[in-house]
């Protein structure tokens, strides 16, 4: 193995209050120091990213009276990739009276995360979930409603209650536009200064505190520094390390990776979520994968032919020669098992040679029964836009022939380590939304990403950041040498990328890295595959830095240069992901080590050795592992069963 690593001191979340779990968030809120309104105006907060977490945080901090500077790489804050979330948002409203409660949402999330998330954080998330729905409705988010005028809900994977609020298949869009509109309102009010088409490339640290960012104006090419009293990263996940994922093309790890290299610990990088229902790859030129909402599993039935190599059209395969394998293996949850389980089951049947479509990498998601039971019109009402999207991409009509789906990288549970206050190991650097690691453990349940992003941005961060800033009067001037060094580092990297002038594009390297990660650190990982990846990644990175071709110059809009910079950071991250996956010899949630499975092929945890958060510190001699022990007082650790 090329990468050596060491074990450092254990790490602990010092901020979580003790006492009964129901009271911890109240306790923390009361303990948190307040900043008086006159002082808020003097404090500047930088928020990078304008998705659900960043957009809602920037808007809320602006409402509270802070001076906010918001940054996004897109042309408008409304483009952030939260907009593509389809299915819905969980909340423990119990409007159905079907036995839901804050405690049940908490329980489901801890269990769904395969006992690798903190109880305190998850409980707070479940508590705050109800406020999010209230907030969104008041903003005018047009959630689906029933004829009585009340909100409709649906079921989602990993839950036996109906607690998912939705806006057709565009819940993320509607929630993001709510946050975006709140943000634009603050921009108009002058509390938020918006910088679109700006990409964060470095973090400025002065006197041990995060005090600013270095960004590149993507239109003029100018490298600028912005200073503040605190920095919030809301830059999303790093699924694009696999090249093909359901993320937007621009999603990248650069902001959190820069912060990591400057001292923020990176927690559980190997926890990636493979979403079971995506449209399969169609060719070599493929640039991204498109998700079909998990909500489809409410009414769609997943199956493959019973016989291997059965190449008849789906209509020609009679009922008794089909294997509805999720219903067969998991009778209690059926098609609604959590994502990691559904994904692996699909991989298993395809590995057996029973997959369908080109290359045998697909399974059917069939709506024939639902259409017969509910009528085509009802199905169209629920899923119309998803069916249209499927048809546009594949040219096939899912009302007449079953969809073909296959798992794809969708979400990363890992991210920068944060304490209960969402503060990283760098004082003054807060991390929210998918960019942090905090609430989903080793597997995120469907419809929980929107919940967490908005919980962090609207409700948690504005409180905890105030506690930090209450001491900010004494932070002092930012060290000019630190600023100069950060800027120089950014410029040096840009110059270096442009100077190589080799023979391969950054995209072609990204594709190769992604393929390698999918094969060796994807749905199933082994000691052997991970060691192979750890051998190959540094070679490929070396080749990249000696042979990449980035056209043009650093002046003005240069999209190839932007992509090359992101790929360069993905190489480093990929290495840490593989190392984390290698050291965690257990299976848990989305991390499946082939060596650790039970007799039925289910993920087998090793709580004795691995009930901890792996927080990695960047070190010149290789990464240093700090373990945060996880304790479960309220939910008994058990092997998950959805049978």
């Amino acid at each position: 193995m090329s990468l050596s690593w060491t074990i450092g001191e254990p790490i602990k979340d010092e901020k979580a209050p003790s006492g009964p779990i129901e009271e911890r968030w109240d306790t923390r809120r009361f303990q948190a120091k307040l900043v008086n309104p006159a002082n808020k105006r003097k404090l500047t907060v930088i928020v990078v990213g304008t998705g659900l977490a960043g957009g809602s945080a920037a808007a809320t901090l602006g409402e509270l009276g802070y001076k906010v500077k918001s940054f996004c790489y897109q042309d408008s804050p409304r483009r952030a990739h939260s907009i593509a979330a389809q299915g819905g948002i969980n909340a423990a409203k119990n409007y159905r009276g079907d036995g839901d409660s804050v405690h049940r949402l908490f329980y489901d999330t801890v269990k769904g995360g395969d006992f690798r998330a903190r109880e305190s954080n998850v409980y707070r998330l479940a508590q705050v979930s109800v406020n999010i729905i209230d907030q969104a409705v008041a903003q005018g988010v047009p959630f689906a409603r029933e004829y009585g005028g009340l909100l409709d809900t649906r079921s989602f994977g990993g839950a036996q209650v109906s607690r998912t609020f939705y806006a057709r298949g565009q819940t993320g869009q509607q929630l993001l536009l709510g946050a975006y509109q709140a943000l634009e309102r603050q921009i108009a009010a002058g509390t938020v200064e918006m910088h679109t088409r700006h990409e964060m490339l470095e973090l400025v640290i002065s006197d041990g505190r995060a005090r600013g960012v270095v960004v590149r104006d993507l239109v003029t090419g100018e490298v600028e520094t912005h200073l503040a009293d605190a920095v919030v990263l809301a830059t999303g996940g790093y699924g694009n390390v696999f090249f093909l994922s359901t993320n937007a093309k621009g999603c990248n790890t650069t902001a959190i990776w820069r912060a990591h290299q400057r001292g923020a610990m990176f927690a559980n990088p190997c926890y990636t979520q493979i979403h079971p229902t995506c449209i399969p790859v169609s060719g070599e030129y493929q640039s991204k994968l498109t998700l079909m909402s998990e909500s489809l599993r409410n009414d769609g039935r997943v199956w493959v032919p019973q016989r291997t190599g059965d190449d008849r059209t789906p209509a020609d395969i009679p009922e008794d020669e089909r294997d509805y394998y999720l219903e067969r293996i998991y009778p209690a949850f059926g098609n609604l098992v959590p994502r990691d389980i559904a994904s692996r089951a699909a991989k298993n049947v395809c590995d057996e040679g029973r997959g369908v479509g080109p290359g045998g990498l697909g399974v059917y998601l069939d709506f024939a029964d639902a259409i017969a039971r509910l009528g085509r019109e009802a199905v169209e009402k629920k899923y119309g836009n998803l069916f249209e999207m499927y048809e546009r991409i594949t040219g096939e009509n899912p009302y007449e022939t079953p969809m073909r789906i296959y798992p794809a990288v969708h979400y990363t549970m890992g991210g920068l380590w944060v304490d209960y206050d969402l503060q990283s190991t760098i004082p003054g650097l807060f991390v929210i939304g998918e960019a942090n690691f905090s609430d989903h453990g080793a597997n995120r349940l469907g419809a929980s990403a929107l919940m967490q992003g908005l919980a962090d941005g609207y409700f948690v961060l504005p409180t905890t950041l105030g506690d930090y800033l209450a001491g900010a009067g004494g932070f002092g001037e930012v060290d000019a040498t630190e600023v100069a060094q950060a800027e120089a580092a950014v410029q040096e990297k840009i110059d270096r990328l442009l100077a190589v002038n080799g023979t391969r594009t950054a995209d072609s390297y990204h594709r190769e890295l992604g393929r390698l990660m999918w094969d060796y650190c994807g749905m199933e990982r082994t000691d052997e595959s991970l060691r192979k990846a750890l051998e190959r990644i540094p070679e490929l990175r070396e080749e990249f830095w000696n042979n990449v071709k980035v056209p043009g110059d650093g002046e003005g809009l240069n999209q190839a240069l932007e992509r090359a910079g992101r790929v360069a950071d993905f190489f480093d991250l990929a290495e840490l992901m593989c190392l984390d996956a290698l050291h965690r010899t257990e299976s848990c949630g989305g991390h499946f080590r082939a060596e650790s499975q039970d007799a039925d092929g289910e993920a087998l945890r090793d709580d004795e050795h691995f009930a901890y958060v792996a927080a990695w510190e960047w070190g010149p001699e290789g990464p240093i592992l700090h373990k945060e022990q996880l304790e479960y007082e309220y939910v008994k650790m058990t092997q998950r069963s959805y049978k």
Partner: protein, 246 residues
């Protein structure tokens, strides 16, 4: 299949710009339009040419970042489809395809096919919101909303802010975009207190940005990837006139 592309190239807003012809070979019908351009750009990069700049992000038809005028039609001839969701199976082998940016004075060209749509953000800033600071909301079930109103509000709210409506309009009007937001919020009980002020401020901002007036041509709704209906504009005008006559 093989195609001839005629693409608008313009190096910054002060450059006059011109159409440049490129030949692309072996295009797969399953490719998306943007994947076809990716392949072209990979080739241009390796040949030492400047790749074509274009905006895109989610590539699943929802972020609203992509947008090109393809053969004279905003987002191309497929109805209710963004450029990223347009697939090559809709083109004939040997065809010539022209590709241009959105053209409207309030959308200045940044480079090639990339335009500046920040005028849309400023229209939203003028009033495209409901003023409700975080934490101040009543219980979500405190105000029931008739399903028909909620559904109609949703239909208007699906606008992705791509700007195709402006590109297609002979007057360069942003009426459909502006009206979609006024309709979305104006149909909900939560949006009533600010309804009149919202319509007035947003319409005035739209005018101030230099967008043209609406003459009911309907080109906007024909190219809208989300099918925002034209009657949204009538609603906007009604709301606006009510405030103007006060």
């Amino acid at each position: 299949m093989n195609l001839t592309l005629k693409i608008w190239r313009q190096n910054g807003s002060s450059d006059r710009g011109r159409m440049v012809t490129y030949e692309v070979q072996d295009v797969s019908p399953d490719m998306s339009f943007l994947e076809m351009l990716d392949v072209l750009n990979e080739r241009l990069t390796l040949e030492g040419d400047d790749p074509v700049a274009f905006d895109h992000d989610c590539r699943e038809g929802i972020c609203g970042m992509c947008g090109m005028v393809i053969n004279g039609v905003a987002h191309g001839e497929q109805r209710a489809t963004t450029t990223c969701q347009l697939h090559m199976r809709h083109f004939e082998d040997g065809a010539t395809v022209t590709i241009e940016p959105w053209r409207a004075a309030p959308f200045p060209v940044v480079k090639d096919l990339v335009v500046d749509r920040s005028s849309f953000d400023r229209i939203i800033q003028a009033g495209g919101f409901i003023s409700v600071p975080a934490g101040s909301a009543p219980d979500a079930h405190a105000v029931p909303v008739p399903k028909d109103d909620a559904d109609a509000a949703f239909d208007a709210a699906t606008c992705i802010g791509c700007g195709a409506c402006v590109a297609a309009c002979p007057n360069g009007s942003a009426s459909l975009f502006t009206a979609a937001k006024i309709t979305h919020l104006g149909l909900l009980p939560q949006g009533q207190p600010e309804r009149a002020a919202r319509a007035k401020a947003m319409v005035e901002q739209m005018d101030a940005e230099g967008f043209g007036g609406c003459t009911n041509t309907g080109e906007c709704t024909a190219v809208c990837p989300k099918g925002i209906p034209l009657d949204a504009i009538a609603r906007m005008n009604a709301d606006y006139l009510k405030t103007a006559s006060k």
